[in-house]
Symmetry: C2
Subunit: 214 residues, 2 copies
DNA sequence: TCTTTTACATACCAAACGTACGGTATATAC
DNA sequence: GTATATACCGTACGTTTGGTATGTAAAAGA
């Protein structure tokens, strides 16, 4: 009884996932402007009707994709993964340099199909008011949850503000690197920039940790 | 004799400028995905035929807009403007804080219709190969020219590399702030982040200057 | 068993897209 | 005066867009 129900729900879930995967692929390869429903369908064996069944509008498809991308990153932080999380590595484990961790984070999270697709959506959200209205609350929540990973308990208000700002600087820089890639396509040079940034930021991360220790 | 020819060429030049201005406005308000030829024409009193005469394809219109935007920023740097150029202010004049200059730069150059339109095009260039082929060389040239403003003569090779990397970090951060705005719409908070970044970067700019003085 | 719900498929729609093209007016060159 | 180039106009074309309407097969619930 249950297995047949599960089988059907599972089928629907698989279709949803396939559509979202194809959407991510399109956003990464073609950009937001050229990502159409037809193009998404080309990359997967799903009918137009099936897509409209799961995502009644194109906007719903984008929202579904955002939900997937946001929870993906959160999941990534929740289950340890000390190698791709720069701050955690420095403040918790202590082995390896911050620069290494930053480069790994860039390669594993930001400069990936999912990371680039996310950037495309964020960029589109800037001018798409309907999208912004639905996505902005999600982003605020997500931002809040992410920050919790970096805020050791017992910090005073000022220290929390300080760490939060430092985190935002880090995120702004690393997202901006997606733009910068257009000027410097050489991955080695990109890595060099990231390493220098890590070097400059390092003392300010250490400071945040020291404050929480006292 | 000359006046009549000039008058005609002037008229054409005015039409071109009006079309580019309208394109910038559309990119800023609607984003790259929703910027169509029809939409550009809506914002200006020019016929469809006139647009096709000056810009034979949509791609040509974008290229024309990029040319305008790039030369605009270069012009901005060439003619003094010490208030909006953070590095110049610190290394040349010395009055006012770096943070103030950075905030001014953000407000006057990046967070403007022209700055946002530029970001939209750069983002689109990532996935549009035809556009990338025509724009990338322009960007490399432009980048090179911009760097010249920040490189005092007599620097050794290592110092040049150091300053160049620092410049790229700065640019990556400030462009990334366009993304970050989607998370924090409050301008005062944006300013706070920029000021903290300036504080962190300040010693590293001073270092570059000291090296060139010795 | 009969009804409802879920998952998917096919066919179609009006609107908008970028582009092509024939035509007019005027200014310069010879 | 004639040829040529520039600036501009307006319509029409074929394609693609996001979205809808209708139908079918099967599982779930009564």
């Amino acid at each position: 009884m249950v297995s047949k129900l599960d089988k059907k729900k599972q089928r629907g879930e698989n279709t949803r996932k396939a559509l979202i995967k194809s959407t991510i692929d399109c956003l990464d390869r073609l950009g937001y402007a050229e990502t159409s429903i037809n193009r998404v369908l080309e990359g997967v064996d799903v009918s137009r009707g099936a897509l409209m069944h799961h995502f009644p509008s194109k906007e719903d498809l984008v929202i579904g994709t955002v939900d997937f991308l946001l929870s993906r990153i959160l999941r990534h932080y929740q289950q340890e993964s000390p190698n791709s999380f720069p701050f955690a590595q420095v403040t918790h484990s202590g082995n390896g340099t911050l620069a290494d961790a930053l480069v790994t984070y860039w390669k594993n999270i930001i400069d990936t199909p999912e990371g680039r697709a996310f950037s495309e959506i964020i960029m589109a959200t800037r001018t798409d008011k309907a999208l912004s209205l639905r996505i902005s609350p999600k982003l605020e929540d997500w931002n809040e949850q992410l920050n919790q990973f970096f805020l050791p308990p017992g910090l005073d208000e000022e220290a929390v503000e300080d760490v939060t700002l430092t985190l935002l600087i880090w995120r702004s820089f690393i997202r901006g690197m997606i733009f910068q890639q257009e000027f410097h396509s050489d991955p080695d040079y990109i890595e060099k920039i990231i390493r220098k940034f890590a070097m400059i930021m390092e003392p300010h991360l250490k400071l945040a940790q020291t404050q929480s220790d006292t």
